[in-house]
Amino acid sequence: MVVAASIVVFLLTRLFTDPVDFVVPLEATEEERAAREAELGFDRPIIVQFGDYIAGLARGDFGESLWQPGRSTIDIIGQTLPKTLLLVAAGMTLAIALALPIGMIAAIRPGGLLDRLLVTLSLAGLSMPQFFVGLMLIIIFAVRLDWLPVGGYGDPSQLVLPAVALALPALGRLTMVVRSAMIDELNSQYVKAARAKGMARRTVIAKHALRNAGVQVLTMSGWEVTRALAGFTVVVEKVFAWPGFGLFALEAIQRRDLFLLSTIVLVASILVVVVNVVVDILYKWVDPRITLS
């Protein structure tokens, strides 16, 4: 998957854009242009460029940024990725930690007043795109109430709004997943049997049913984390000027920094694979019947 992603990005960027336009000054002559092109190696056939790129990767050379000349792209990633990981970790922890209890509470009496209220809120949450949530949060909590900073990075208070913006839609989706999984489990025969053994309703919900709902919840949580890592952070980081690699991905695209973009996509796809492996390992922990191949 990582290989496929890097090939696709490599080909698309090389075939459909001309990065040299952005690197050379507007008033540059054709000769200057050609010289620069040759210097960067863009005059060679695509296949040669690709071979060169792969050979570089094998040596641990991810290429030099066009936008910030002299800096290795992996160096930029090293600086921005931790910030993105912090944001995603905060946002997803928030979403999962809240979705579990809220979904469980809603599932206790499906169709009840509380359930309907929570479902409505979840639907509202999952229907709102991150940029909208982000802007609303800024208007309310940063501008009107002046409780929290509008954006930026550094102080812990600056983490709050972007993390919430990232968490809210995911929270809505995950709550619905937890709820429906719990409703299924609470109607199952083993729950009835556990109740007949005299187990307290609370024990049955929190122990027996929750673990069985866990597999579904885990699948969706993993998916949310990958979507956040390789997508939603771009939007949220842009809205809150959070200097993570999502924001840098946008910059890289705008400035036709192909080397940086390639590296970002490569790292993002590695992260997606890592998250999936972690989820697979957790499956085994939740459900001992699952065998890892």
């Binding site: 025969q189 109740r195 007949a196 053994k197 187990m199 673990r211 459900d287 001992p288 019947r289």
Partner: protein, 347 residues
């Protein structure tokens, strides 16, 4: 409705000597009514039924699907699920109500799984697939008897051994998927016996099992009953099972009890036309029977149950009165109570 009077005055026909000690019965279900509030209307699943079980007695509860057997069992355990609700009557355990009064909830929590235990129909789904057998077994004694983990483990080993599972200690660390259906039912029975219950409610415990396994499980239940003096409420639609195990039998039809009597008596000489029909539609080995006779018609719609006897529309001997007036469950002899206007004469 004269139900309250009837329940208290109706004698428990075949146990006059046991009643002589005048103590309360082990389990007394009185005028129990359970209704399900669905979109289609209120399903009157159980309508004012009364069942008494004495110590050491095995009571069979038979009837076709939808007659209210399992709903009754769940109501006794306080496990009626929405949209169902117990809307009338009482369940008394050793004279103390499990449904009504300020202490009922506490009493139910104490009794359920402890003094009254239950075994379900489907052993394949009654165990939680994600927890080990040991974990699920220990749960019970730890909750009710306050056992330590070690004590609970020892007890679980003892119980698995009792129900005939080999290598009980190793079994505790296995998950349900490593067990066959018959083995799982043994585990569930072991679990039910954890706290030495006085009453075991077995809701079609053999229905989901192979015939050979069925026999083994029934044998096990019979052995345990003799060994521990267990009372059993055995719910089944298999009359053969009732004949083999039960002292008394209650026949249910359309959410009502049609007939109660000694198991052998009812089989030899059913008084209610439904009991008779049920018997004739059951294959038997000990009698030459040209062919099985099915009961014509369908069970009653429990949203709008018939005004009269629920069995009247299918009954061959039904008269006008049967269609207009609900028959009470009344004694027709010393050992038999029947809810029918035209019962067959029974000894």
């Amino acid at each position: 409705m004269a139900t309250a009077d009837r329940a208290t005055t109706a004698p428990t026909p075949d146990a006059p000597t046991e009643r002589a000690d005048a103590g309360p019965a082990l389990l007394e279900v009185r005028d129990l009514r359970v209704e399900f509030f669905t979109r289609r209307g209120v399903v009157k699943a159980v309508r004012d039924i009364s069942i008494t079980i004495e110590r050491g007695q095995v009571m069979g509860l038979v009837g076709e699907s939808g007659s209210g057997k399992s709903v009754t069992a769940q109501a006794i355990m306080g496990l009626t699920e929405l949209p169902g609700r117990v809307t009338g009557g009482d369940v008394r355990w050793k004279g103390i109500s499990l449904l009504r009064g300020p202490k009922a909830d506490e009493e139910m929590r104490r009794v359920r799984g402890n003094e009254i235990a239950m075994v379900f129909q489907d052993p394949m789904t009654s165990l939680n697939p994600l927890f080990t057998i040991g974990n699920q077994m220990r749960e019970v004694t730890r909750r009710h008897l306050g056992y330590s983990k070690r004590q609970a483990t020892e007890r679980a080993v003892e119980l698995l051994d009792l129900v005939g599972l080999s290598n009980p200690r190793e079994r505790l660390d296995q998950h349900p998927n490593e067990f066959s259906g018959g083995m799982r039912q043994r585990v569930l029975i072991a679990m039910a016996l954890s706290c030495e219950p006085e009453l075991l409610i077995a809701d079609e415990p053999t229905t989901a099992l192979d015939v050979t396994i069925q026999a083994q499980i029934l044998e096990l239940l019979a052995k345990l009953k003799d060994e521990f003096g267990l009372s059993v409420l055995l719910i089944t639609h298999d009359l053969g099972v009732v004949a083999g195990m039960c002292d008394r039998v209650s026949v249910m039809y359309g959410g009502r009890i049609a007939e109660v009597g000694g198991a052998d008596d009812v089989f030899a000489d059913p008084a209610h036309p439904y009991s008779r029909g049920l018997l004739r539609s059951t294959p038997r080995l000990d009698e030459r029977q040209a062919r099985l006779v099915s009961i014509e018609g369908a069970p009653p719609d429990l949203v709008n149950p018939p005004v009269g006897c629920p069995y009247a529309p299918r009954c061959l001997s039904a008269g006008d009165r049967c269609r207009e007036e609900l028959p009470e469950l009344l004694p027709i002899s010393e050992r038999r109570t029947v809810a029918c206007w035209h019962p067959f004469a029974a000894g």
